[in-house]
């Protein structure tokens, strides 16, 4: 049986790693994910896991060593944030292109400049096209649950693609919440044993990893890789169900919170969803048909399922915890708007950037979004497609 614990999101990630007990962890400390390798090192020092910990000299080397260890035939995990994730960037593509099912915990954080160590999604959204599966957690429980599931998803033979489990820096990584820590053996049983495809260490059958592919081969390899990533969608659902049977918490591609008849809908991901749920509850008490569509799987992006989930919406606001950086809107906004293009009903969609560099997003800010959606639905007019929440000064 699981037990209730009061621990941080980083500790949730570290406990997931301890229970998975991967063959190799190669990691480098960076705020706010530092406590993960620290905890792992302590678990090893205390004999609670027997993973080989490679205390690399940079995140670039962390991901490089992960690729080496995974190609050697290992189950491999790591953790990082922000600039560390950015430093890994080159090798993230190599991990996914080489089809190595590495699993990484990311305490999502703002990217410099200016230097800022607090939460937002600049890192994971910047790396959204690195070919990794991206699962995003709302809280510590999901952080823990997602990492355990990520192992099974990534290692599925039809997938064989690395996966990251992200959770908001500080909001989740450093906040103590009560969550359920499952039994060690039950988790081990759930993730099972990993059988690598072509391990380098099988010296009897020498394999070449990482050959370069000229123009008459590269394209085929990349599409072969894409199929693995796309296959992850069904596997996420399947593993989410299995997890539900094993531990009582079932997961899907997204969470539809009071969405059945929702007319005013916020689409968001990460810790802001907790605040939004509270706001939805109080609006519902007042008879407002508010709902939240919480994204769990960002890559591969389940555009069709999400468009279906938005079928009752009269107006939609997408919250992005990242700057649009010159695009029409944030990363999630452009995905959602594109997903709705083929839908039967095409509600107006607006976009907010919020929470950059750890800026608070409070119920009043979320309330203002629902107010806006109500006005749009009533008037049918969108005066401002993009705006910011809790920014000093008026944008646009």
């Amino acid at each position: 049986m699981g037990k209730k614990v009061a621990l941080t999101g980083n500790e949730a990630a570290a406990h997931a790693i301890r229970q998975i007990n991967p063959d190799v962890v190669a990691a480098f400390p960076i705020t706010p994910s530092t406590p993960i390798p620290q905890n792992v090192a302590q678990f090893i020092a205390d004999g609670e896991m027997d993973t080989e910990l490679v205390t690399v000299e940079s995140e670039h080397s962390a991901m490089s060593a992960c690729v080496g260890a995974a190609a050697a035939g290992g189950r491999v995990m790591t953790a990082t944030s922000a600039n560390g994730y950015a430093l890994m960037w080159e090798i993230l593509y190599i991990a996914s292109g080489s089809r190595l099912p590495i699993v990484m915990a990311v305490a999502a954080r703002a990217l410099s400049a200016p230097l800022n160590i607090h939460g937002d999604h600049s890192d994971i959204m910047g790396g959204r096209d690195t070919g990794w599966i991206q699962l995003i957690a709302e809280n510590s429980q999901e952080t823990y649950d997602n990492l355990i599931q990520a192992i099974k998803i990534a290692e599925n033979k039809d997938v064989m693609t690395p996966a990251l489990g992200a959770f908001d820096g500080f909001n989740i990584s450093h906040a103590i919440e009560i969550w359920e820590l499952e039994d060690d053996n039950k988790v081990k049983e759930f993730v099972g044993e990993y059988t690598p495809l072509y391990p380098l260490l099988n010296t009897k059958e020498p394999v070449t990893h990482g050959a370069w592919a000229p123009p008459d081969w590269y394209f085929e390899h990349k599409m072969n890789q894409l199929e693995g990533l796309l296959n992850a969608k069904d596997v996420v659902v399947k593993v989410g169900k299995e997890f539900g049977s094993a531990f009582g918490r079932e997961y899907g591609l997204y969470e539809a919170y009071k969405m059945d008849d929702a007319e005013y809908v916020i689409v968001a991901m990460g810790s802001v969803c907790g605040t939004t749920k509270d706001v939805v509850d109080s609006l519902r008490e007042n008879g407002v048909k508010a709902g939240l569509l919480k994204i769990r799987l960002f890559r591969p992006f389940p555009y069709k399922e999400l468009a279906d989930a938005l079928s009752s919406a009269k107006a939609v606001a997408v919250l992005d915890r990242v700057s649009p950086a010159g695009a029409q809107g944030g990363a999630l906004f452009t995905e959602i708007r594109s997903a709705l293009y083929d839908a039967n009903s095409r509600p107006p969609v607006i976009n907010y950037t919020y929470g950059l560099g750890g800026r608070d997003t409070q119920p009043q800010h979320i309330n203002s979004v629902y107010d806006k959606l109500k006005t749009i639905a009533e008037t049918g007019k969108v005066d401002k497609q993009f705006d910011c929440l809790n920014l000093r000064g008026t944008w646009g």
């Binding site: 190669a26 490089s64 080496g68 380098l200 010296t203 020498p206 070449t208 990482g210 050959a211």
Partner: protein, 313 residues
Amino acid sequence: MALLNELAKKKEGLVNGHRLCPGCTHSVIMRQVLAAADTDKYDIVVAAATGCFEVSSGLYPYTSWNIPWIHNAFENAASTISGVEAMYRLWKKKGRTDKDVRFIALASDGGTYDIGLQALSGAIERGHRFLYICNDNNAYQNTGNQRSSATPFGASTTTSPNGTVLQGKSQPKKDIMSVLEGHHMQYLAQASPSNWRDLMNKVKKALDVDGPTYLNVIEPCTTGWGFPQNKSIEIAQLAVDTCVWPLYEIEEGKVKINYKPKNKLPVEEYLKPQKRFAHLFKKGNEHLIEEFQKQTDRHWEWLLKREESGVSY
């Protein structure tokens, strides 16, 4: 060391059909390395950095490797092999294998002296058991002979060209052996494919060390350096005989020079056959050759003093 006839009977770990330039010494060095390795006793796994050798020997759907081989990126051969070796240690710890496997990371000077230096330093400091081999061809040859910190003084490269105002690279070559020696590793050595017996001895010795070891090998490049393709080994030999490329090893801090030329040749003998140094022989540039000789002598004499002193850690 076994006779060459004995070594020639072994199955080769690197086969032909690779696309290296005719006369390239990358494969010569690797063939000597793998011939020296005691593969009856242990298996070898190689991690290669991006570079000429990597693109020529692992070109999908072909591989020239008969042994497990991985290429990851340019700057991370050392961190890649760290991961592979960590996995092996885990297998050993858990009794999942009784095989003896040894690890080689392979890069050129770009991936070693420059972009890969941090990863190499980290991997050595962590004490992974691997032999890191740098095939030093004195520039970024895979992208077309751009200068590196291993490019010697005076050499004309595409980013340190000889022109009307500047005469090739103005800085001396980085002494990577001294940089790495600061890690206090048990064994590091410098070798040349021209002196194959010496190179093979060093490989054997290095692979038997239970920790990180390093081998710096001169890798004459016919296209980058500008000499006929049949002269590669001769050029390597001239580098050794002029003491531009001394053959020595550092074992627990103690320097041993493995070859002292009876007749130390002037550096001109080494410089003259190579196009990259042609401008040094123009009238008015005599001082550049003098400077080259001075740098060479300074290093050689320092090595001799180190050896004479007999100091170790």
